[in-house]
């Protein structure tokens, strides 16, 4: 049996030196089942072997953090004995192969990470990136992914309240589907995955194990090529109905404190869940494979251990609690099987009908998991493009029309109306604003939620782009009036074995770490997705940031919509007219040339803290951060949301186009009834703020340039996506 050839090692995604290490650990050659287990445990997806070294520099602490990275999800104290638990995770490769199921199971997986910890999921978000609209697969992928996310989230009954959806040719054959779930738990009742108690039962609950998804984790750890379609069978099939039952059963079990530890069977299924639980507890585990509920006959131990069938959990329960636990799962009509027990041997022992199938030492396998210091090269800084003002002399209102109907700026209503964003009846601010707000059940508190990244900035300058992604999430949370708490990061990059892609990863991490540090905004959970390349072409580096903020009184929030006519419009933050890597420069020069706008974190914090205080004190009636497309786009979005126009006067000493469309950071547009008070408090706090106009009428008018009806801008903004999808 022990004849493992070079081909088999390669097929399992292991290198020769990794194989040698396996033999050293075991003191013998592994059998095929053992090789399979090593291959998934040491896959990039499960072991983080290329990224570990760099992830360590991310700040993950604050007085509020209860659990940082390393658990199923991060947990942050929100007072009153409660914690918010959240994480974002990618399902990129499966979603490209089979968009509906790939995206659906992405949602299912991240939901399990959250309720595994004892939290009831209260909101979902997602960050989607597709190829160029003109690419022949894009429409099919958008339709499938959106339907899949909706199909799963709508059925389990968790509202999908926010996210982003963008297009770029670099994602043509490698789309990104990042899903985030947020849950609420009692602080005293958070569950971990650390196995405890020799002799305790190892229990399998949920769906039966089938042959789907075998080697999904290994697939997610390699580049794609033209024959990737043949990998479709490695995509799992989701069953949101069973997930819904599993949520209710697990929460009931936790509520009755019948549980020692619990872990979902995600990537690498039974292998990684049993392994990780025992490893964390410093124990051994013995599993009898014939007791695992199976969907089909004749499954081999290899298949059982590596299946990624969905909606399954592994639990540790004291033998005395077994029968009570079983009753709960029987009520919810779910499988419940005692498949093994915890031991003190420190070994994972697999038996099938009494026959020894595998015997692996847990600690050595876990601690010897490879960690690479991959060579990387810094990204060459983009030269500053000398500005030839003559090139920019275009009618700002024409440019505005152009930008509002760009795929990436167009309204994503077509997407989020396919998601039930209201179920649970706590959604205070639905999708479409800076951050969504959900009320925390039975309280006056609220959570603000957002997902952000500007990949073209990261591409131009990974460190500045990483910083900007964090700053924008922080700003979006601030712009609704919340106090930013913490983030989860989903780092989507190319092949780490290529120094350029690795350099983008390293740069982005440094930028993220810097911003998290200064904004006091720790990373509490996350996921790394590497090898996002097809035929050697990498995606734009995309470190998606999922941010969570707290409102102590949810009623003291603002939205982006103008509220009334004749209110003053104020920009907070300094406008310099930075055009590098902006949407305007793309329109003028044909590509995103130049460096991205620099992020000054000190100003970012100062301006944000000021805006938040003004919102909470009720001095501001509407607020919107200034990001993609610049100031005039933000104003247009505020107008469109309210159907109220604005009269704007650009300063005379400024190139109007740079003023209107520059993408300088740390800025907000706010409206107020008392402009003198606001400007006075700003100047006292050393904040740059100036009044640029008033809300008025049914059109946006810019002095010296004319006006555009808000209704017309709204139509331009809302019609691109539906007409693209119908086309």
């Amino acid at each position: 049996m022990n004849q493992i050839g070079i081909a088999e090692i390669k097929e399992h995604g292991l290198t020769q030196s990794e194989y040698k290490l396996i033999c050293e650990i075991l003191g013998r050659e592994p059998n095929v089942t053992e090789l399979g287990i090593f291959s998934v445990m040491w896959s990039e997806h499960c072991s983080y072997k290329s990224s570990k070294k760099w992830l360590k520099i991310l700040p993950s602490n604050s007085p509020r953090v209860i659990y940082g990275p390393g658990e199923n999800a991060g947990a942050v104290d929100i007072g009153d004995g409660q914690a918010v638990i959240f994480k974002m995770e990618s399902h990129n490769h499966p979603s490209y192969l089979e968009p509906y199921q790939g995206a659906a199971t992405g949602v299912g997986g991240i939901l399990r990470d959250i309720f595994t910890m004892g939290a009831r999921p209260i909101a979902n978000l997602n960050s989607l990136r597709f190829g160029a609209p003109e690419h022949h697969k894009t429409r099919h992928l958008v339709a499938g992914v959106v339907a899949g996310i909706g199909g799963y989230g709508n059925c389990v009954g968790v509202p999908t309240v926010g996210g982003e959806c963008e297009f770029d040719a670099s994602y043509n054959e490698n789309i990104l589907v990042n899903a985030m779930t947020v849950g609420i738990a009692n602080k005293e009742n958070i569950f971990c995955s650390t196995a405890k108690g020799v002799g305790n039962s190892v229990i399998y609950v949920g769906s039966k194990t089938g042959r789907d998804g075998i080697h999904g984790a290994t697939m997610a750890s390699a580049e794609f090529s033209d024959d990737s379609g043949s990998k479709r069978p490695t995509v799992q099939v989701g069953d949101p109905f069973t997930e819904k039952l599993l949520i209710e059963a697990c929460l009931e079990l936790m509520d009755r404190r019948l549980l020692v530890a619990i872990q979902d069977m995600g990537a690498a299924g039974l292998t990684s869940s049993s392994f990780e639980m025992a490893s964390k507890g410093g124990l051994g585990v013995e599993i009898e494979l014939e007791k695992v509920p199976q969907r089909e006959k004749g499954m081999t131990p290899y298949e059982i251990m590596l299946s990624e069938s969905q909606e399954r959990m592994l639990m540790i329960v004291e033998p005395d609690s077994e029968s009570q636990a079983r009753k709960i799962f029987e009520k919810w009509e779910l499988n419940f099987a005692v498949i093994g027990k915890l031991t003190d041997t420190g070994h994972l022992i697999l038996k099938n009908n009494g026959e020894l199938i595998a015997n692996l030492p847990i600690d050595p396998l876990a601690s010897a998991s490879p960690e690479y210091d991959r060579p990387w090269e810094p990204t060459t800084p983009q030269p500053i493009i000398p500005r030839d003002d003559a090139e920019f002399l275009r009618d700002p209102l024409e440019v505005l029309e152009l930008l509002l109907r760009l795929p990436n700026l167009s309204s994503k209503r077509w997407v989020w109306e396919q998601y039930d964003h209201m179920i649970m009846t706590e959604t205070v601010v639905p999708p479409g604003g800076d951050a969504a707000i959900v009320r925390i059940p039975d309280t006056q508190k609220g959570l603000a939620l957002t997902a952000d990244c500007t990949p073209r900035y990261v591409h131009a300058d990974p460190e500045e782009g990483g910083r900007q992604a964090v700053a924008e999430a922080w700003r979006n949370l601030t712009a609704v009036g919340s106090e930013p708490l913490a983030i989860t990061d989903n780092l989507n990059f190319g092949n780490p074995e290529k120094p350029r892609a690795m350099g983008q990863f390293v740069g982005a991490i440094k930028g993220i770490a810097d911003a998290c540090d200064l904004l006091d905004f720790p990373v509490v959970s996350g996921n790394v997705s590497l090898y996002n390349e097809t035929n050697g072409k990498p995606i734009l580096p995309t470190p998606t940031i999922g941010g969570v903020g707290l409102l102590s009184d949810f009623r003291k929030h603002v939205t982006i919509a103008f509220k009334e006519e004749e209110e003053n419009i104020v920009i907070v933050g300094e406008t310099l007219g930075h055009l590098g890597a902006s949407l305007l420069i793309k329109e003028i020069k044909g590509s995103f040339v130049g460096p991205p706008p620099p992020v000054d974190l000190v100003n970012e914090k100062k301006n944000g803290d000021f805006v938040r205080k003004e919102i909470i004190e009720g001095n501001v009636t509407a607020c919107h951060d200034i990001s993609d497309g610049g100031l005039l786009v933000s104003i247009a979005e505020m107008a469109i949301a309210a159907n109220i126009g604005a009269k704007i006067s650009p300063p005379s000493n400024f190139l109007a186009q740079a003023w209107a469309f520059g993408e300088d950071q740390a800025r907000y547009v706010v409206t107020t009834k008392n402009v003198e008070g606001l400007l006075y408090r700003a100047s006292k706090a050393g904040i740059v703020a100036c009044c640029i106009g008033i809300t008025s009428g049914e059109a946006i008018s810019v002095s010296n340039f004319g006006e555009r009806k808000v209704a017309k801008l709204k139509k331009l903004n809302e019609s691109w996506l539906p007409s693209f999808m119908n086309g």
Partner: protein
């Protein structure tokens, strides 16, 4: 007024409905698991929204065969009030308490948004606290809300004043752009002949709180007391 909310495997608006009943009527309903023996004695049963049994066979088809539904049908025939919201409406058509069927939305997509409804009749208990012709905004969230009834049943519904809600725009006008799912005659909600059973696709439980979704759904609950 005793109210029971039935929970099927896959119901997911049960908790929202419970909250809405408690909020509008001041007392929480009985939450009744579908498989538990004997339906408690109540004046009103609510079948909440969701995806009972995953909607895998056909929306509401499996739940219609749950033992509790035999009791609900029996009690309905004796005159207790029954309200089916969204998936609950689908179950009521499957079990035969209401005529017609709810098919996949015309554009084949799930749709979640606030829609405008016109109160078509108030000659029944469920809409007794609304004005006839009143226009209210209430959310919908469904994949299978495309109501269809054959000519005979449709005429019966119209002639007996059983069409209780229609999709309109904010000014009360009907038209293809205001109907979100393609339902026949713009129907959003209907009554049975005895007018003690109501089925509606919109979610009134999502419109009982000023801070969240407004309060235009409150009177559906207030009307039954």
């Amino acid at each position: 007024m005793k109210i029971a909310v039935i929970i099927f495997p896959g119901s997911n608006c049960d908790r929202d409905t419970k909250k809405a009943v408690a909020q509008t009527l001041g007392c929480p309903p009985i939450m009744h698991w579908h498989a538990d023996v004997e339906l408690p004695k109540v004046d009103c049963v609510i079948l909440p929204g969701g995806f009972s049994y995953g909607d895998y066979l056909r929306s509401g088809a499996m739940a219609a065969h749950s033992p509790v539904m035999r009791e609900v049908v029996g009690q309905a025939k004796k005159g207790i009030l029954v309200i089916g919201i969204c998936n609950g409406f689908q179950i009521l058509t499957e079990v035969g308490l209401l005529p017609g069927v709810l098919m996949r939305n015309k554009n084949l997509k799930f749709v979640c948004r606030k829609v405008w409804l016109s109160i078509e009749t108030t000659k029944n208990i469920f809409t007794s606290r609304y004005r006839k012709g009143e226009i209210i905004g209430v959310p919908i969230a469904h994949h299978d809300g495309n109501y269809f009834a054959d000519e005979y049943n449709l005429k019966m519904l119209q002639d007996n004043d059983q069409v209780v809600l229609r999709y309109v725009d904010s000014a009360g006008r009907r038209g293809p752009d205001t109907n979100p799912n393609g339902s026949v005659d713009d129907i959003a909600g209907i009554l049975n002949k005895g007018k003690n059973v109501l089925g509606m696709m919109p979610h009134p439980e999502r419109a009982v709180d000023e801070a969240i979704g407004g309060t235009s759904g409150r009177r559906f609950f207030e009307s039954i007391t």
